[in-house]
Symmetry: C2
Subunit: 370 residues, 2 copies
């Protein structure tokens, strides 16, 4: 045993030390305190959360099971996996549950990334792909989008290098709200080598406003495709952290080895099991988002503002100086996301809320831009 | 781009592929189904869960906030960290929250482990230390215990090699229930080089039946000590997954880089914030465990069974063939843990329950051993 005067922080793995922390945006309470606004007057349209709140079936399940929380959760979320498996006509062993679908991405990191690999993702796509890549010391290859801010899936396939182990396809894409069409996805997947893992992140699938590509068939047909889904958006369970991955049995088995024993909390499992049958809630949500899209687009046209036509529950609006406008809105108690971190400084991203929230947002934006 | 016929599973990082999954023990429902026993007749004394259930303050908080679960949780659990910081007289920046204290161990893995490092832990100590070590491709050095099944802290310090980056001290130790004394911990910490991270895992501290070592002073005085705590045991929140680490600001800052943006769910944050003030619940729990210890020891003496004197809410009982006895108990609706996985095949580990549960356990054990 050698004695040493080295400080422990000098022993931190270099690739971790270099990571800059993610900025998750301001919660309502922080805005209320900072700007001296009553929290009840604040509207949060910033995190693509459900406009309708939590699925009522889930609320009931949470309340009824609060007293059970002294028990450890069922390790692999067996019951919930059986339900999801039925819904998608796959085997329970083709499903892995995560503490949010974000955690599925870390399992992928553990299994497929290291300092000698790279990942391919798109510019202006979900920030966590690059974060995870850095967390596992891999190299991130970022591919430009089409000028309409759609994933350029053909260029992404071309960007795959010999050391690439994972390609991330976010569909619909966050933060642009755009969707890849079925035939484009199909032709891309045909071209991707079998030893590159294709991660299709479908966080917004259930509330998509256009027809989604038939991606589930790749889970059945291909050995290298995993689809990630979440209960955060369509079922309003973002706070409980519940996501899942669906893929071939072999692949899921490998990812399970990177999963910690009790990663998905008990209340999330119970709420998810209740929410997944709540089709009425999802249908109602889609109606709200469809109406919101029409309303917001019409008023953007009125205001002579460009926007990116969305396929889900949020949209990009081109306001000039996005950070400045977001800050001004914040002072008026409306939280939206500036897109500086996504290299889209002229835009803000607005999550669709209930009609009154959307109206207040548009009214305030109109005043600011006068 | 090279075309390839390699299957994706051949690309899994070798050290992950070699991991064998953790066996978390059978949940009540699975036992009920398998053995055809009414779930209400089953007694689970297997996972060191709280005998008193969930802290009532937490139950109330969960019920009252179920409708908030559509919001993402506050990223760094700021409010809860302020409360914990006050309780321990440290800064909020000296605290990092995890999805269970288990996740704190993964942050430590990200920061301090790789294929060129080793970790030191004790035999017959919490299985997750070795699991995490393997997850990050490091080498696990396991040190034998004293013959009384106490951590041999001096031998552990001697076992530190030049590539050792982390030493795990579980106190009280799971699964043996034994505690290291203040002076032994002190002299060990003085000898451990400053560039080795000392992880003191105090999952059972709040319900310890003997005086805990004064470990918090190392957080103030040393640069290389982190203390892990959990809400699972003392506050009955195992199902919600809520743990934390306390250490010097520099160290915590580094661990934060490995944390995913929304790792601790909203209900856990709210329940933890309510539970941490529920001193009455913790005091009551300790009384229950103290009585249970006296009762169980007395009856083990009656039955001529050796046991390891415990300092917390579970105990090891030497029954001969632990796996066989655990299986026989299971058939009678009593779930305890066989210690085969911990290389203590002659023992079972029994979590203290409420008096009626303990009585039924002893009665059944007596019948089995007749």
């Amino acid at each position: 045993m050698k004695l040493s005067i080295v400080n422990i922080t000098e022993k931190i793995n270099t690739h971790i030390d270099q990571i800059s922390p993610y900025d998750p945006g301001k919660p309502i309470e922080a805005v209320a305190e900072y700007y001296g606004i009553d929290a009840n007057d604040i509207i949060k349209l910033a995190s693509n959360e459900s406009a309708l709140g939590v699925s009522p079936a889930a609320v009931k399940a949470i309340r009824n099971n609060a007293e059970l929380c002294f028990r450890y959760p069922e390790g692999s979320a067996h019951k919930l996996r059986i339900k999801i498996a039925k819904k998608f006509d796959v085997l329970p062993d083709q499903i892995i549950m995560g503490n949010g679908s974000n955690e599925i991405l870390t399992f992928i990191g553990h299994c497929f990334m290291n300092s000698e690999t790279s990942t391919v993702s798109s510019e202006h796509s979900f920030a966590v792909y690059k974060m995870i890549t850095e967390l596992y010391d891999a190299r991130s290859i970022q591919v430009p989008m089409t000028k309409d801010l759609v994933l350029d899936i053909y260029k992404m396939v071309d960007a795959i290098e010999s050391d690439t182990s994972v390609i991330f396809i976010c569909n619909p894409n966050n933060p642009t709200g755009t969707m890849i069409k079925n035939k484009d996805l199909e032709s891309a997947i045909e071209k991707i080598p079998e030893d590159v893992l294709v991660v299709i992140d479908e966080a917004y699938a259930e509330i998509a406003l256009e027809t989604m590509p038939e991606s589930m068939r790749y889970v059945a047909e291909k050995t290298n495709v995993i689809i990630c889904r979440t209960f955060s958006k369509a079922y309003g369970l973002a706070g409980l952290r519940l996501g899942y991955g669906m893929g071939p049995v072999n692949l899921i088995q490998a990812l399970q080895k990177a999963r910690q024993p009790f990663n998905v909390n008990l209340i999330a499992q119970i709420a998810g099991t209740a929410a997944i049958d709540d089709d009425e809630f999802v249908d109602q949500s889609k109606r709200v988002y469809r109406d919101a899209k029409l309303y917001m687009e019409e008023l953007c046209n009125d205001l002579n503002l460009n926007y990116i036509p969305t396929t889900t529950n949020f949209m990009l609006i081109k306001v000039g100086n996005g950070a400045e406008v977001a800050e001004q809105l914040l002072k008026k108690g409306i939280i939206v996301r500036s897109m500086n971190g996504y290299d889209l400084p002229e835009y803000i991203r607005v999550t669709f809320g209930m009609p009154k929230e959307n109206q207040k947002f548009i009214k305030t934006l109109r005043e600011l831009l006068k």
